[in-house]
């Protein structure tokens, strides 16, 4: 501790504390090889960036979920046996309800700090899923899923799905009116599965809905099976981060072969460890100040009443919204069997396809680029315009679905017809995503052009100078090498050549070859290449005041040849 950082000089214990630590270290080393562990990991370098903390938030909220959940489990009774409520909340006194709901009420009204822990648990669940989603977006938009991290992306998608499952199983446990209606919707959704839906429902609910077994079954999934799997997958996810070493943003001194940052001990441990306490503290403060899911207002579950404006937790909203948007027509009867595509498509097929698309994307992109190298330097989103466009397109369609889950509240707030609003959102579901793609791609290309402009001509100074010839120009201040590097460091892919009608050996190009070439064209046809030293030299040769049009590719080389000749 007292040695200066980086010092490797032999350490001779002098003080009493030092002698004790040395003894403990010796004891551990001889039994578990602690020295090798410390040497291998303690000075491991982690790069620093705010966006790398998103995954940390997800991890920490999971830990907070385990802590607060353990407290709740001390008092919660996972039983649907009907009892008369005899707790201290007067408005519910004597009401018949399940033990699950009664114990949830007790947690709020009779256990000091119980409501706080319930709030902490609920808030950290919301934040857990949100952090996972935003972390995934960061990984997607910066291309951190590229080789060698494809498997870790897959594990991340698995974690996201598991987190949704955890959220849903937990949401149902209080067995209040709101969560019961959520379960009812799930029952309707499972019933819509062709052929086996009815059987799955009866096996899941132990008979008819709601039955008396669903709460204990969800409970064991929620507190044991799912968290166990999540923990195991998190362990793998982090082990791969260690094995791959963390990606880093491009910048001066950062290359594909190094990682620049701070050592695990002490800096990173203090920062990341401290951040855990910050996340924990903030979640507790939110929980103390903003109470959500006031289950005592809803009452126990009963299949007959429902409150208007019911909303699922935010992360299930997109499915609920799609259920609302889907018209009823695609339900039909075939040979005496009913196929409810109006339910099956939006609630199971589309989310399934979304997960498939997420799982497939890294492999698809690698197939299109044909790039088999390892990538440890992150992309700036603007430098991958089509990928960024695809990402924003996905976010947009997600947001339309999500907004649709609040169509009743929006119609109420803005005094609109809910039918018109639903129709509007139905159209937007098809219109907005492609628009978002095109706009995003164009914005990315423009930002790249701006980068080129800046790299070629430097900063505008606002100083206008008149030459002896009477010519006016604005003086531009050239960029320093370190400043310029970020703008010129990236590589661009060029589209693959469209395969000829027939190969030289007379073989026709396969469909796969043609699809791949077309996709490659889709991805890389429109591109802005980074400034090369030649271009910079040419720009400086022309004089800083003269605008240089931005040439690309072969055209650039041609123009270079002509303009390079002395006047």
């Amino acid at each position: 501790m007292s040695t200066p950082a980086g010092s490797t000089a032999a350490f001779t214990p002098t003080s009493r504390t030092a002698r004790l630590s040395a003894g403990a270290a010796d004891y551990l080393d001889e039994r578990i090889g602690a020295a090798r562990l410390v040497k291998g990991f303690a000075r491991k370098v982690f790069p620093d960036h705010w966006s790398f903390m998103l995954g940390e938030i997800a991890l920490y909220s999971f830990v907070i979920l385990l802590i607060s959940g353990t407290f709740l489990a001390l008092f919660y009774v996972p039983s649907m046996t009907l009892v008369e409520y005899e707790g201290s909340y007067a408005p519910m006194y004597g009401v018949t309800m399940s033990e699950a709901y009664a114990s949830s009420l007790n947690l709020s009204f009779d256990i000091r700090g119980g409501l706080l822990m319930r709030q902490v648990h609920h808030w950290s669940a919301l934040i857990f899923v949100a952090a996972i989603v935003v972390h995934m977006l960061r990984v997607f938009f910066t291309g951190a899923f590229r080789k060698p991290r494809e498997f870790n992306w897959v594990l991340g998608v698995v974690l996201a799905v598991l987190a949704l499952a955890e959220g849903f199983t937990g949401y149902s446990l209080p067995d209040d009116l709101l969560s019961g209606n959520g379960l009812r919707i799930i029952e309707g959704v499972i019933l819509a599965i062709p052929v086996v839906g009815t059987y799955i429902t009866f096996f899941l609910f132990g008979g008819e809905f709601p039955g008396e077994t669903i709460i204990p079954r969800l409970y064991i999934l929620h507190v044991f099976v799912l968290p166990g799997i999540i923990l195991a997958v998190i362990a793998l996810h982090l082990a791969l981060v260690v094995a791959h070493k963390h990606t880093q943003y491009p910048g001066p001194g950062r290359t594909n072969d190094n990682v620049v940052g701070f050592p695990l001990m002490p800096v990173y441990a203090a920062k990341a460890g401290g951040f855990f306490f910050i996340v924990f503290g903030v979640i507790i403060l939110i929980s103390g100040l903003v109470s959500i899911n006031a289950i005592w207002v809803y009452g126990p579950y009963d299949p007959s009443p429902v409150s208007a404006g019911t909303q699922p937790d935010w992360y299930i909203g997109f499915v609920d919204g799609l259920l609302r948007l889907m018209p009823g027509q695609p339900e039909f009867t075939l040979a005496g069997f009913t196929l409810s595509l109006n339910v099956f498509l939006p609630s199971l097929v589309v989310p399934g396809l979304m997960v498939m698309a997420l799982l497939a994307y890294p492999f698809l992109e690698q197939w299109v680029t044909g790039d088999n190298r390892e990538h440890h330097l992150l992309d700036r989103p603007r430098n991958a315009p089509v990928r960024t466009g695809i990402g924003v397109m996905a976010i947009t369609s997600y947001c339309v679905m999500w907004a649709a889950a609040g169509n009743d509240l929006m119609a109420l707030a803005f005094r609109m017809s809910i039918n018109d609003l639903t129709w509007f959102l139905r159209f937007m579901f098809f219109v907005l995503p492609p628009v978002a793609f095109v706009v995003t791609k164009r914005i990315c290309l423009s930002l790249q052009r701006k980068d080129r402009e800046l790299a070629l001509h430097g900063h505008e100074t606002g100083r206008v100078v008149r030459t002896a010839d009477g010519e006016y120009f604005e003086v531009h201040e050239p960029l320093s090498d370190t400043e310029r590097w970020l703008l010129v460091q990236h590589e661009t892919y060029r589209p693959m050549a469209i395969p000829p009608k027939a190969h030289e050996d007379g073989r026709k190009p396969s469909v796969v070859e043609r699809v791949r070439a077309n996709l490659s064209g889709f991805f890389f046809e429109d591109r802005v290449e980074p400034v090369t030293p030649r271009e910079l030299a040419a720009a400086q040769h022309h004089g800083e005041h003269e605008a240089i049009e931005q040439p690309t590719g072969d055209e650039a080389a041609r123009r270079e040849l002509t303009s390079g000749t002395p006047d």
Binding site: V45, Y89, A90, R112, G113, N181, I185, L191, A192, Y199, T201, F202, F203, L204, G206, E208, F209, T213, H244, K245, R254, D257, N258, V260, F262, V267, A270, G274, F276, F277, V282, I284, L285, S287, G288, P303, P305, V306, L323, M326, P327, G328, P330, E331, F337, T338, S340, N342, T369, G370, E374, N407, N419, T422, T482, Q489, T492, Y493, R534, L561
Partner: protein
Amino acid sequence: MSDVQLPNSGQTAADEPDGGRTPVRFRNPGLPAHRHRMADFDPRAAKRAERQVLVMLGLSALGTIFFIVAYFAVPLDGTFATLQVSNITLGLGLGFGIFFIGTAAVHLAKTLMPDTEMFDERHPQRGTKEERDDAAAIMVQSGQESGLGRRPFILGGLVGAAALAPLPAVVLLRDLGPLPGDALAETLWDEGVRLALDPSAEPILASDVTLGSVFHVIPENLYESDHFLDEKAKAAVLIMRVDPDVVEYDEDRVGWDVDGIYAFSKICTHVGCPVALYEQQTHHLLCPCHQSTFDLTQHCKVIFGPAKRALPQLPISVDDEGYLVAQSDFLEPPGPSYWERG
């Protein structure tokens, strides 16, 4: 690799217009010079940072003590007011107690621990030629030593047995629940079962249902059932009284209403939420979950939203004492669609 078309790939310096004097790509300029922080060279700044860390740790301790005091000082008495006070005080105490430990640690790391950036080298995931050859040799050797290649029947048997072994786990799940049978199609409604108020189960006199009114209804015998919630989830009904002339004539349904009192299943044919909202002026029923809208004047046909089928109608009549009774069960299964529904 041959498909990768990187900018400037395949070009040599000699191809360049200026004969190779300008490099093809910019060179990484390396890490910019390190900028020291105040605390690195000014002992007073370092001392100040140290004090700030200590203050944060002190605030954390105060928060924790505040939590413990609040825990014992704010009793819960079952009212929402004390609950709120308790939740806010406990939350603030515990929250600050934990939050400030975090800020103290981060502040310490950012101001007083070294902030010179360090390098680690990366190595490709791919092993070296020797490692890969050795690994391949080990795998081949293991395969040979296992002898499975020479004894293919053992391998086949192993795969077969291992594939069968998990089946008991599937079979064991069989008793999770009964087979569906006709359970979803049958409700407590039957000839002569009285319509009763939800949740009191008091029977309803036809004369009490005035024009324009709406009642939430359950079968009178609901609570005699062992699993009354299961039964209620299928049998819940809405009755509404309207001017019989506003409802379209349907010869199949003649005599199913009692002087304009119509009974329809309350369970949405979409995914089963209760269709609980009745608009008296338009005679529309709306499901608050996904906004399926049913038109009473067309026998609860769907006029908007994600449901396809009309709400099933319960044929009703009046018994000798003037109470509303069912003529029979629903003539089709109520609630969400399912495969075997037909």
